[in-house]
């Protein structure tokens, strides 16, 4: 997305959301009735039912949060807002599992 810094940040949010959405949607489609999990791999139908039922709701929660947190953390103005108000959420969304001590920038 072209334009100002906000739209550049928004595009980063969309990128993150796109990958999360793809992963969740793929899991949901694998868990589809008579789909790959049930028919081909003989996974537990009850577990697949729970996955089918809960993933859309999880997506409804996770995707907007991802867009907002990724976008706000990508602009300097919002970064200060984000780290001031919700450092834990920021760290949670951006935690990559690599070694980092305490400062957010190094993560």
């Amino acid at each position: 997305m072209e334009g100002n810094a906000f739209f550049a940040a928004l595009s980063k949010g969309f990128t993150a959301a796109a990958f999360i959405m793809f992963l969740l949607a793929f899991v949901r489609n694998v868990a589809r009735k008579k789909g790959l999990g049930e028919s081909h791999f003989h996974w537990n139908p009850n577990s697949l039912l729970v996955i089918r039922r809960e993933i859309p709701l999880l997506m409804a929660f996770v995707i907007p949060v991802t867009i907002i947190t990724t976008s706000t953390s990508s602009t300097p103005e919002a970064f200060s807002l984000m780290t001031a108000w919700s450092p834990a959420l920021y760290s949670g969304v951006h935690r990559t599992g690599d070694i980092c001590a305490t400062d957010h920038e190094s993560c």
Partner: protein, 358 residues
């Protein structure tokens, strides 16, 4: 019968989502002694029972820098003339020059070896004492101590043994071994002479023996140097691993608290306040003019996937029918089902990509 999510299940899922997010941000409990009042009260206790001591020692003690310089010169190559044809004086002169060079190379290698051994010993001592200090300190480390650990790891990663140093030693070793063989051959070919040249010949033999001895010493020194540098490299890797293992358990995020929801609300408010439709329409127009083809292609793919959704679903069902029937079941059906699941999952992804390129 189709099942619709009840209000209760929606609530559970939302709570699960919030919990998932909290756990993803949930660090180890010990964190940030400056900001946390609980930890700030603990700090004097730590200094009393000696847990703070390693931090002081860590700051005061100069760390070993495992940097080794590459040898300046490659070992001198001995130029041996043909014993039968060449002048004996020339041979003696060449052998004397080679002997001097070789002795200098042996001295240099011994110096490098001594330095590498001293670095290795210091690094091993530092590693052992550091391991003990970390064991004593446990996982209850402060933020500043974590920073020091991180600095040390970065330094070790920066100053690790250069790979071309080991390669250089290997090449020096192989050259020295070749020359040792060449010398032995030369000594075997050279025939003793009873004439007037016998004194010169015995001098040449002595030089050859000395040179052979020097080359053997050089090979020994290089072998030891190679072993020491390899051990040093392993030690540096162990040290890095120890630091990484310890850093893994250090907190990397603050604890989720009641302010998190407020922060999210503030962020969402800021996000909405930044959405200006005139700027958005301008940006979309500019982007479409620049990347129209790509955007059009993604839009086309998206439309095709939406139109073909029913067909993909039917194909998925058709692929599931022969499963379990020994006569008809094929691996290709599972692969087709996998592809169908992939295509069905692509719609949301493509939608976001399209928005992204717009």
């Amino acid at each position: 019968m189709k099942q619709y999510p009840t209000r209760y299940s929606i609530l559970i899922t939302w709570l699960a989502g919030v919990l998932l997010l909290c756990f993803s941000a949930f660090p180890a409990l010990a964190e940030n002694s400056e900001s946390s009042p609980v930890q700030s009260t603990k700090a004097p206790q730590q200094s009393d029972d000696g847990d703070q001591e390693p931090e002081k020692a860590e700051e005061s003690r100069p760390a070993v820098q495992p940097e080794l310089e590459k040898g300046t010169d490659s070992p001198p190559e001995i130029k041996l003339p043909q014993s039968a044809d060449a002048d004996i004086h020339e041979q003696v002169r060449a052998l004397q020059a080679s002997l001097k060079q070789r002795q200098a190379a042996v001295l240099e290698s011994r110096e490098q070896l001594n330095y590498a051994e001293s670095v290795l010993t210091r690094l091993q001592d530092e590693y052992k004492s550091f391991e003990l200090r970390l064991e004593k300190a446990g996982l209850n480390l402060t933020a500043s101590y974590a920073d020091l650990l991180k600095q040390r790891l970065e330094r070790l990663q920066r100053q690790s043994i250069a790979e071309d140093l080991i390669e250089g030693i290997e090449s020096k070793l192989s050259t020295a071994r070749e020359e040792q063989l060449r010398l032995e051959e030369f000594e075997a070919i050279a025939e003793p002479d009873d004439g007037a040249r016998s004194q010169l010949l015995s001098h040449r033999s002595e030089l050859l023996r000395n040179l052979h001895k020097a080359v053997t010493e050089h090979i020994d020194a290089l072998n030891e140097y190679y072993n020491t540098v390899t051990a040093l490299q392993d030690q540096v890797q162990d040290y890095q691993e120890l630091l990484q293992q310890r850093l893994f358990w250090l907190p990397s995020a603050v604890v989720v608290n009641a302010e998190t929801a407020g922060g999210l609300y503030q962020s969402a408010k800021w996000f909405i306040s930044q959405l200006r439709f005139d700027a958005l329409s301008n940006a979309i127009t500019r982007s479409v003019s620049e990347r129209g083809e790509r955007t059009g292609l993604v839009a086309l793919l998206l439309i095709v996937l939406v139109i073909k959704r029913k067909k993909i679903l039917n194909n998925l069902l058709a692929n599931s029918r022969p499963i379990g029937n020994v006569g008809q079941d094929r691996t290709a059906f599972t692969l087709h089902a996998l592809m169908n699941s992939f295509l069905l999952a692509c719609r949301g992804f493509l939608c976001f990509r399209w928005l992204l390129w717009c």
